[in-house]
Point group: C2
Chain length 373, copies 2
């Protein structure tokens, strides 16, 4: 079968031949339909993140997938059922551990998991995969075409579950939310705030000039685009309003700290970016005082578990199809796989500057299609 793999650091993915995998007991064989491409894939391609499984020189990419059960293998799944695979698995040679036993692999620390398509385990960009049945989340056929968005939405489901948890000791009624970053995850999150979470006022910070398709999506959702070059994060409370919730999806480390200033009293900042080392000066006294005197919280969040995937499928069903169509700018077959990785050969600014996307026609969200849905 064909798969899309990468030698970490090679800069571009390649199509490779691999044997169709055999499901072990408890596993099903899944025929892959579509697999999304995201920033983590580029980090793996560039070699700045992730790693190949022991004994292999290439990693099969892909962690945002939807497929169809080809051989249920006695697992109780139904053949023909569309499914979305979760990403984390126990480390090689380990059957399970406390985190997986509890259904919370997203809370496992480094060393206690591998991530399919990212680190230590092959991903989903292949014609077939096998997976333990309990890592395959059924999705209705009518949503299957968008099923590769379930994993990124699940990331936000988890981050917001944790952000809300931080505010659960009192009566919190958030009305304003600010999303930092207008990439595909930021845009999906803006859509969740406006369409499913009932926020009255939603803002999205980016660094793009108009006209720009991501700004169009933000405004179509009734949200407000803020250009960080005109209004830096810390000035947003004065220029717009203090925010009950800040969702950071830029990987720009100063945002983690400036978010404290952007928050309203009793607000929470959810951090999702994974920046490299970067030292800079902050007014730590003021930020510390502000966190305390206004009961603010910061919560970091990574990955997601099966419950978040299930919530994400409900969310996906509630998002307007027109918005999904605008966010997904291209789904490409193997014969034009280069189009699915438009940044793979370009020189991408690494590290801090994740919001400094150039003002061009860079697609927002792409996917690879292995089988028609």
């Amino acid at each position: 079968m064909k798969a899309i793999a990468v030698q970490p650091g090679a800069g571009v993915p390649e199509i490779v031949e691999r044997p169709v995998p055999e499901p072990a007991p408890g596993e099903a064989l899944v025929r892959i339909c579509r697999v999304g491409v995201d920033g983590t894939d580029y980090e793996v391609i560039e070699g700045s993140h992730g790693g190949v499984p022991a004994g292999d020189d290439r990693l099969v990419l892909g962690h945002e997938a939807v497929g169809v059960v080809e051989d249920a293998n006695g697992t109780g799944l139904e053949e023909g059922q569309y499914v979305v695979p979760t990403v984390r698995r126990p480390p090689a040679g380990v059957e399970t551990n406390d985190y997986f036993e509890r259904g919370e692999p997203d809370m496992a620390p480094e060393g206690e998991y591998v991530e399919r398509g990212i680190v230590g385990a092959h991903g989903f960009m292949a014609e077939y995969i096998t997976s333990p049945a309990d890592c395959l989340v059924p999705i209705p056929a009518e949503l299957a075409a968008w099923g590769f968005l379930v994993e990124p939405i699940s990331i936000t489901e988890k981050a917001l579950e944790h952000a809300y948890a931080t505010r659960s000791a009192f009566d919190w009624q958030p009305e304003s939310a600010l999303v930092l970053g207008n990439g595909s995850l930021g845009l999906l999150t803006v859509a969740m705030f406006t369409e499913t979470l009932g926020y009255e006022r939603v803002y999205c910070l980016g660094r793009r000039d108009r006209p720009d398709p991501s700004i169009d999506i933000i405004e179509r959702l009734g949200a407000t685009y803020i250009d960080s070059r005109e209004t830096p994060l810390a000035e947003i409370p004065d220029a717009y309003e203090p925010m009950d919730l800040v969702y950071e999806a830029t990987g720009y480390a100063k945002h983690a700290f400036e978010s404290v200033d952007a928050l309203a009293p009793n607000g929470v900042a959810a951090l999702l970016g994974v920046p490299g080392d970067w030292s800079f000066e902050i007014d730590g006294g003021r930020l510390h005082r502000e966190l305390v005197l206004h009961n603010k919280a910061i919560v970091g969040s990574v990955n997601s578990n099966r419950g978040h995937f299930e919530a994400a499928i409900d969310t996906l069903a509630a998002l307007p199809e027109g918005v999904l169509e605008a966010i997904v700018t291209g789904v490409y077959g193997l014969e034009e796989v280069d189009l699915a990785f438009p940044k793979a050969t370009a020189s991408v600014p690494a590290g801090h500057g994740a919001t400094a996307a150039p003002n061009d026609d860079t697609p927002i969200k792409t996917a690879v299609e292995f089988t028609d849905i």
Copy 2:
């Protein structure tokens, strides 16, 4: 009647004559027994925090009190009942607001409250006070002698309630806790971790040489004293272990950020200090990444509400009396009030250096006694 008041910035409190207050409808008249002295009182005395009520030139001090109902005034309280008053009240001229209506004045932002004995309202260091009955929390007579510790314990009850809330979206089973600061609040919190919260391993960071009574208390509780001059906060995970919970009670702003490094995966840092402005460099990229990849949280917490006072009374009942006796180094009548404010005339290091207490015989916790219990 006699009261202890201060002209903010005067550097020392003074005994003043005030009329015995008359309870308004819904208020009770309380005869004050004991009032604790804490760091906030010194900030008010120095003039770095707080403020007098409009129309007055002095503020009656005191926010950690226990008294006895002298005139229930038809409120439903019983005369002779010991009570602890809560601290926040609606601003002058305002009957109530959403925060008070919900029983969550501790979540009110600046401008939506006054604090008795701290900012905008006279405190409890007087022979008599009046208070709305619902701001008077009954305490059993056998605990009344320690009742002035209920307010500081309630501060920790709230901070820990919020810290636990941040970890409520998953199965969190904390075993290790680190308290930053070995002042009276830090010591009470160490006692809560070891005596009522079931932590297996508790540490307390300070800057004092042995022999020192606060170190004795820490060790008597089965906790481990860590000298920050030998083991800075960020090195504690290697030297001891990463911490599930860090509780900051130093007001030392670097601690707010270094706590992230001291935390175990999925840990939470509760911040309580109120530092002044202070700019310094951090590796913000690493801290941001660490928060995200290990699902860590930071939560600021200020003040407490009636529910936290009630929880604090239960906690107080569970703490060993010997520990309370060791923490409370002196209870003084008005005739020796100077002894209750041992730092009031000394030159106190302001701002960042709150942990840099000199290695001397400075009392740990003092109180003023107005009436025998």
